[in-house]
């Protein structure tokens, strides 16, 4: 993981890491709007007060994002579901990934399969693949043993492959 440079502007840093933060935040929130709120809150706090702390900035930020995400999810879960129902929106709202050049069907299938994973598997997968964290770091983030993190990751991949193979067969 790259080091944080003192001279780097927040925009440069956010341009590089913002998408990962948002994707991970999305694992712990019920809507994209909530994920944005969480990222904003965590990033502003980090940039103002925590960027001088030792440790890896992205891991620190992800801890902050997760904490804020869980807080806000608990507070808003009911309300978001009500609003989504009223507006006829998809509860998740917003695509998690950039479109693929070779076509969007595969991306949509992966995204859909991700959405069906148990949340504890999905968060490990997101932190490992898109958050660039090691199993040790994920274990620290989630307060679980590293072996458990690795197991959840394996289960997530297996379930994804099963889902995607099924989708290929049927689609």
């Amino acid at each position: 993981m790259e080091e944080f440079s003192e001279n780097e502007s927040w925009k440069d840093w956010f341009h590089h890491h913002g998408p990962k933060l948002l994707l991970c935040a999305r694992q712990w929130t019920v809507s994209m709007a909530d994920a944005e709120d969480v990222v904003q809150e965590a990033f502003v706090r980090f940039w103002r007060r925590q960027r001088g702390l030792s440790g890896e900035p992205l891991a620190l930020l992800l801890t902050s994002v997760r904490r804020a995400g869980l807080d806000i999810a608990r507070r808003r879960m009911r309300r978001a579901a009500r609003e989504a129902g009223a507006l006829g929106e998809e509860p998740g709202g917003g695509s998690l990934f950039e479109p693929l050049p070779e076509g969007d069907d595969r991306r949509a299938a992966i995204e859909s399969a991700l959405g069906r994973l148990p949340s504890e598997q999905r968060e490990v997968l997101a932190l490992k693949i898109w958050g660039d964290l090691t199993f040790a770091q994920i274990a620290h983030q989630l307060g679980i043993p590293a072996n458990t993190a690795a197991s959840r990751y394996r289960y997530a991949l297996a379930a994804l492959r099963h889902e995607l193979t099924g989708a290929d067969c049927h689609g």
Binding site: K20, L22, Q40, V44, L96, F97, E98, L100, L157
Partner: protein
């Protein structure tokens, strides 16, 4: 990880997380923008003036009574040791003077506030106190928050 999953991991790794909506960048920019407050320098003016006043009170006997050998000199038993014990800032009134555009193009409110600053000194030995109040005007520029 298992060789079985290498292809899937590679495929997932090729997916790039969606770029955040520009409104998120805007909101963060607003929060991280330095707060612009015009006229804060005035805050120190009464404090400096008060300090000068306190110093004058302490030194006054020396200035007022030049040392004279022939004439008896009346001196206080001890120089007053005034110490600031309270500072109060009372907002007397506020007026919104409308919008202004900052150098970076961001709109902001211009607020004119009238304050009354009061500083109290006390000499703990004699219980003598000195209170000094001064009106102060402050112009605050508050960037507009679109949230």
């Amino acid at each position: 990880m298992d060789d079985d999953f290498q292809d899937l991991e590679a495929e997932l790794g090729r997916l790039r997380p969606a770029v955040p909506n520009p409104r998120l960048l805007l909101r963060i920019g607003q929060e991280l923008a330095p707060r612009r407050r015009a006229g804060r320098g005035w805050l120190w003016a009464p404090v400096a003036a008060a300090a000068a006043l306190a110093a004058a009170a302490v030194l006054w006997p020396r200035w007022a009574v030049p040392p004279a050998r022939e004439a008896p000199v009346l001196r206080p038993a001890a120089a007053p040791a005034l110490r600031p014990v309270a500072v109060r800032d009372v907002l007397v009134g506020s007026r919104d003077e409308g919008y202004v555009v900052l150098a970076d193009g961001w709109p902001a409110h211009r607020l004119r506030e009238a304050h009354l600053d009061t500083i109290v000194w006390r000499d703990p030995r004699s219980a003598a106190s000195l209170q000094w109040s001064v009106p102060r005007e402050e112009i605050r520029i508050v960037p507009v928050n679109f949230q």
